[in-house]
């Protein structure tokens, strides 16, 4: 299948979602989180378009490319190191300084998750395009 159809389909879905998000916020039926998600899916679309521009028709081999599978594994390893170390640091800080009750875990844990994902994405891009 021509990967352009995948991009067109993804683009249409993104536009629909973005429109619904803006409309939802405008009519006060949705919160700011929906706008963040709309931004994220739009960024993903831009990334896919850039990859398509760089890889051309071979874009369709992205999911079966052996090098990308290896890179994906390396990126995952980096992000897990961050996660493990962060959890350990958090555990030590909260025990040594007795901060556990005052730490805002509802903020810290999502930040850890977001950091893990961001490191994984950046590592993947670094390994992929450092040629």
């Amino acid at each position: 299948m021509d990967p352009r159809w995948l991009l067109i389909g993804w683009g249409v879905l993104t536009l629909i979602f973005d429109f619904m998000a803006v409309y939802g916020v405008y009519t006060s039926q949705a919160g700011g989180m929906v706008l963040l998600l709309a931004g994220a899916v739009s960024l993903l679309l831009v990334y896919l378009l850039v990859v398509y521009r760089l890889d051309g028709i071979t874009f369709k081999n992205t999911l079966v490319d052996e090098r990308l599978s290896i890179i994906s594994g390396k990126a995952q390893r980096n992000s897990f190191w961050f996660l493990f170390l962060s959890i350990w640091v958090l555990a030590i800080i909260s025990n040594v300084h007795r901060l556990a009750p005052s730490l805002a875990f509802d903020v810290v844990l999502p930040l850890l998750g977001a950091g893990t994902i961001i490191i994984q994405m950046l590592s993947f891009l670094w390994y992929k395009y450092r040629v």
Binding site: L54, G56, T58, N61, R67, V131
Partner: protein, 74 residues
């Protein structure tokens, strides 16, 4: 880090008048992987090396070799 496996993929590809994209399509990999191979930033798996050799109808060792071999080490 550069690969210890050297290759003359770029030379062979250009001799056959192929683009990186065309070779990527034929081998089932992305254009960037061809680029990484040609720049010695990636060592292919045995399966991919054999695929490349079969595609160009050449022995694998005519395309890929260990760096030390051509320096007279082996």
């Amino acid at each position: 880090m550069d690969s210890k496996v050297n290759n003359k993929l770029r030379l062979i590809r250009r001799t056959r008048d192929l683009t990186q994209e065309e070779l990527g399509v034929a081998l089932g990999v992305t254009r960037h992987t061809i680029l990484a191979l040609e720049n010695r930033k990636y060592e292919p798996s045995i399966a991919l090396a054999l695929k490349i050799a079969r595609f160009f109808e050449m022995p694998v060792e005519d395309i890929f070799w260990l760096e030390e071999e051509r320096q007279g080490g082996v």
